[in-house]
Amino acid sequence: MGTDKGIAVIGLPTLTAIGVKSMVVSEHDIRVVCYATYDDFRSFEEGADGFVVTPEVFVGNLDYFMPRRQKTLLYGNFQGMAGQEGERVIFPADDEAVIGEKLTSLIEGIAKDGVEPGELSAREKEVLRLLVAGKINKEIADKLCISINTVITHRKNITAKTGIKSVSGLSIYALMNGIS
């Protein structure tokens, strides 16, 4: 499964790195490890499934990051970058919701690579349990301490993976697959 190794945050200022880690683990079921330098990261054998790095780290190690650019978010100030390209960059001035969406998009991209069709992640199973227990999006968000947007994203992923759209159908799916 693609998210076993988690996300490596490399070269970011310490407080910023802690902020990124805190945002990711509060919303997603995925490991985050922070490294001060690229060499620190490489001294561990296990690697990572996704990356948040500074442009200096990226440019200084193009051989490593170019093949992994789809799984990498850059953190920094870039002039004139917006739209599609801007989605791969966290700007220091971005507000919390925008940063959250960019991190979620990175994690979903990683998850798509590694998860078999139909296989729900641990977080998606939690959302499904609450959904079939009759909870609405707001209640699920409060219970799991995540945003409503993240709940909606999880619900879309559950439907995409299981092929089932209605709450009644999802209840039967949960029963059949021992998710209760």
Binding site: G163, K165, S166, S168, G169, L170, Y173, L175, M176, N177
Partner: protein, 227 residues
Amino acid sequence: MALYNRESKLSEAILNHPQLIPVVNRLGVRLGVGEHSIGSICSREHIDADFFLSVINTFLDPDYFPVNARDTFTREKTIEYLRKTSSYYVKVQIPNIRRHFGSLIARSGEDNNLGQLHRFFEETALQIESIVARDEESVFPALLSGDLDNVTEVSAESHSEVEEKLHDLLYLFVAHLRGDYDRNLATAVVTAIFSLEKDYRQNNRIRRRILLPQVRRNNDSIGDYGD
């Protein structure tokens, strides 16, 4: 672009799309149609050929919009067709699936998840029966009397919900059926649900494309002329 027109042979249309058989039955045509064109059969049976063509083309083609529906069809005619459709669900298709599902469970032992699928089917079937009863008791009379507020939107929403459930039921059968079961009867049940799902979805399209524009046009004209 319509799939069929007045000159098309009905026998060919039915052979190409056998799911049209219950549709043409509801419109007043029985099998044994000969080699005649749709226009000549409609004329012989005193059926409005434009209405007939709009219904079968809307039924078959998701992209087809009946351009002349605004001018030529009455709500009465559309509602009569939908009443026959509802009656077919409740009196033929659902009892047929219930019968086969009962036999499937009886002949399949207990080492499977058919019970859960059966529960879901019954929930969906009861919802269809309740919607049909509501249509008869309040929605159709309201539409006929011109008392239209909310009734059509609420009705469209519950029909879409049933569409989703039927789709899910099929998907659960196809992707998640487990254990020992009678394969022939399972095939019969899935085929019958598939037929109901398709019929239901396509008839909802007729509601949206033919009935709702008629209702809205009528509302507009009430507004325009103040009567």
